[in-house]
Amino acid sequence: MHQTYFLDIKGLSVEFRTRNGTIRAVDDINFHLSKGEFLGIVGESGSGKSVTAYSVMGLLDSAGHPVCGQVMYDGIDIIKATENTMQDIRGREISMIFQNPRAALNPIRPVGYQIEDVLKQHQLATRQTAKSKAVEMLRQVKIFEPELRYKSYPFELSGGMCQRVMIAIALACSPRLLIADEPTTGLDTTTQKATMDLVKELALKRNMAVIVISHDLGMVSNYCNRLVVMESGKIVETASVNDLLACPKHEYSKRLIAASPKQNSCLENLTISPEKHLIRETFSHSEKKTSTPQLSKVHTLLDVRNLTKEFPIRNSFKNFFFQQTNSYHRTSCRAVDDVTFKLESGQSLGLVGESGCGKSTTSKIISRLINPTSGEVFFKGINITNYDAQDFVEQSERRMIQMVFQDPTDSLNPRYTAHESIAEPLRLLLGMNNSHELQLRIFSLADQVGLSANLLERFPHQLSGGQKARVGIARAIAVKPELLILDEPTSSLDVSVQAIILQLLNQLKNVLGMSYIFVSHDLNVVRLMCDRVIVMNQGKIVESGKSFEVFNSPKNPYTKALVEAIPRFEK
């Protein structure tokens, strides 16, 4: 006898028409969901997990269309349903929360009104009752002072608050199925925990089924009962969380689990077979000779003293009319507040904190992209804050301090090929104009970061995220810096790519004898990469020490909360 499920997807395939022919984004997938169940769909970018969600919502854009299979929701075939039926189902029966809450909310409409819109659309509230219902929804998603927040615009709320509003909108009509597409990507770990706890709590209260789509295996396994693992449009494995984590059957699931940094994992275990070809024997010999003398003598490379950075709060209207009388308005905000630390040569230091804690500002001051308000940075005994950020280009220390940026897309000039991007610092800082010498150096750098030579002539938009990250790293190490600042170098990459990049960075550090400042919000990654760690909160250093000590026995309450919020695989 065939059992009927609440949501049953049978043999669904979705194809997209593109310039280069048809692409099958989802290929013959089958899974089902019971009432009140938490299902996780895990996979890396391009695996078809979002397309699956959009098919269930009937929201595929015009280029994509299901070619076969069916999506049965409580007896209704969603693929065959008319647009009118779907409008009724969306919001009322099936709701969705999106990846970027700030982009999904209408920026010029107060959040309370946006909740009312959904209620009115489905005739669940009249003009008289809408406001009280909207405020009640805001209260349910635990927004502080819901009556005041009712009139707030999305830009006045933090990312976490926006996501709560999204949840309130999604749940306003008491749907029976909630699809959360990467609900916590871009949110801090503590916010992520709070958001997901809230979803779980509300779902249990309403006996609502939830599909959580994410690339973060740790987060999904914390909240879901069952997991579906997808790879390039296919479902490779469906299993309960415990079974999947304990004994993954498919090769891809194994790789994915291995690549997700855990409490006790070490760098070598992140990939099943580490990429050994990356650093060639011949190359490492010559490089090692030059770098060993530096390594043998440990000295203070970087000495940061009482670093403070204030940003003026822009309020042009007030400043224009009342230039002097700002006594009771705060005119500046302290992004970095009295930060002091030291870094020995060859060491790697982690800079950890949530968004807005000042870690990126600190790293930009050290790399001399911006000027501090006060305080000093000594690099090899020379006070580099004596030079203005604009003039630092002409100093010899420019070459020694390099940086790898957070967003590999945004940090590459779209008009430069990979080759030109890597050549830029070599030409300007090392004065390499001899094209033969330059070519050789670029090829050896590409080889070092595992970028195949035929990719060098491509433009950034023709490269994948991991390849772009490699170009960024190659550019940064091209001039053989002594200090490399890594500003969230892997936060926009898939876990398997992240694993490879982390191993690569570690190998490069050993071979080239560089020191790292590793800025990240991902504590598991920092623990893997760094000997020492500094935890920052609201511009101040709240705790510092050896990585394993800080993470295993945090002393400061903030650090404790941060460590608590790391998703754990072990239940």
Partner: protein, 287 residues
């Protein structure tokens, strides 16, 4: 070898963009025609555009005079063709000047902000506060009635549009990742502005340029129409329309229609060209 591959890629991209959008193809063929006329116009014109011939004044279009003749017996067809060079020349030079100056000023305002921004912003606001055509008339009248002064006047009144677009686009990109990366690679401010930012604001600027070309042609013709700028007996579309307008009532329509149509086609062509041009200079469209 790489040079050849590079040009090849450029060419392939051009062919791709044109094939993708038939309107672009139309615009580009029109554009090529206009450019050709401007280059070889005087040598292919069947008659001397300036030589008067009172015996066959105001002849309607015929095989020997395709577009008819004007009140002085000059061939309208030849005059329309020959005028292409002058009209396009004025528009091109004016747009080139305002593009270069506008990019530099707008780029500086967007990049440095502060006082630079305020001064440049107020200058462009001041220019925009005038009715632009009247301003152009004033400039030409004050500086003297020459072709160079028409070019300067047209360039000045177009300047604010370039300043505004380039200022906005630059200030978006001022703190973008690749600008920071260029600073780390040892680039100074000017180098960043010229190698990182300005090339990347080309796509929106190109749309502006092509729309502005049509507008500049109209402006030059308009100035000539009211008697400023190009002087008779030189062939110029605006003057021809002005001279012909006296004869509309008496039924000699060909004096106005043909130069007017040439003017319209040229403007139409540049307006269509905008999108195609953006697709060509935008690296993201290269695949």
């Amino acid at each position: 070898m790489t040079k050849v591959a590079f040009t090849n890629r450029r060419l392939n991209h051009l062919i791709y963009v044109i094939r993708e959008n038939p309107v672009t193809l139309l615009a580009f063929s029109l554009f090529t025609l206009i450019i050709l006329l401007a280059l070889v116009g005087p040598s292919i014109a069947p008659h001397d555009p300036i030589k008067t011939n009172a015996t066959n004044a105001l002849e309607p279009p015929s095989l020997s005079y395709l577009f008819g003749t004007d009140h002085l017996g000059r061939d309208v067809f030849s005059r329309v063709i020959v005028a292409t060079r002058l009209d396009l020349g004025i528009a091109f030079s004016a747009v080139t000047i305002s593009f270069c100056v506008g990019c530099a000023l707008g780029g500086a305002a967007g990049f440095w902000g502060g006082w630079t921004n305020r001064v440049i912003g107020r200058i462009s606001d001041a220019i925009m506060a005038f009715p632009l055509f009247v301003l152009a008339m004033g400039i030409v009248a004050a500086l003297g009635n020459t072709i160079e002064n028409i070019i300067y006047a047209t360039a000045i009144i177009n300047l604010p549009f370039y300043i505004r677009v380039s200022r906005a686009e630059t200030s978006i990109r001022r703190n973008i990742g690749y600008v920071d990366a260029a600073r780390l690679s040892g680039s100074g401010n000017l180098r960043i502005l010229f190698t990182q930012i300005l090339p990347n604001i080309l796509p929106p600027m190109m749309v502006q340029v092509s729309l502005n070309m049509g507008w500049a042609i109209l402006n030059a013709a308009g100035l000539s129409f009211i008697g400023l700028g190009v002087r008779p007996p030189n062939a110029e579309w605006g003057i021809m329309v002005a001279e012909g307008s006296n004869y509309i009532i008496s039924g000699e329509w060909w004096l106005v229609i043909f130069p007017g149509a040439a003017l319209m086609l040229a403007v139409f062509c540049f307006n269509l060209l905008g999108d195609g041009l953006r697709d060509i200079v935008d690296p993201l469209r290269r695949t």
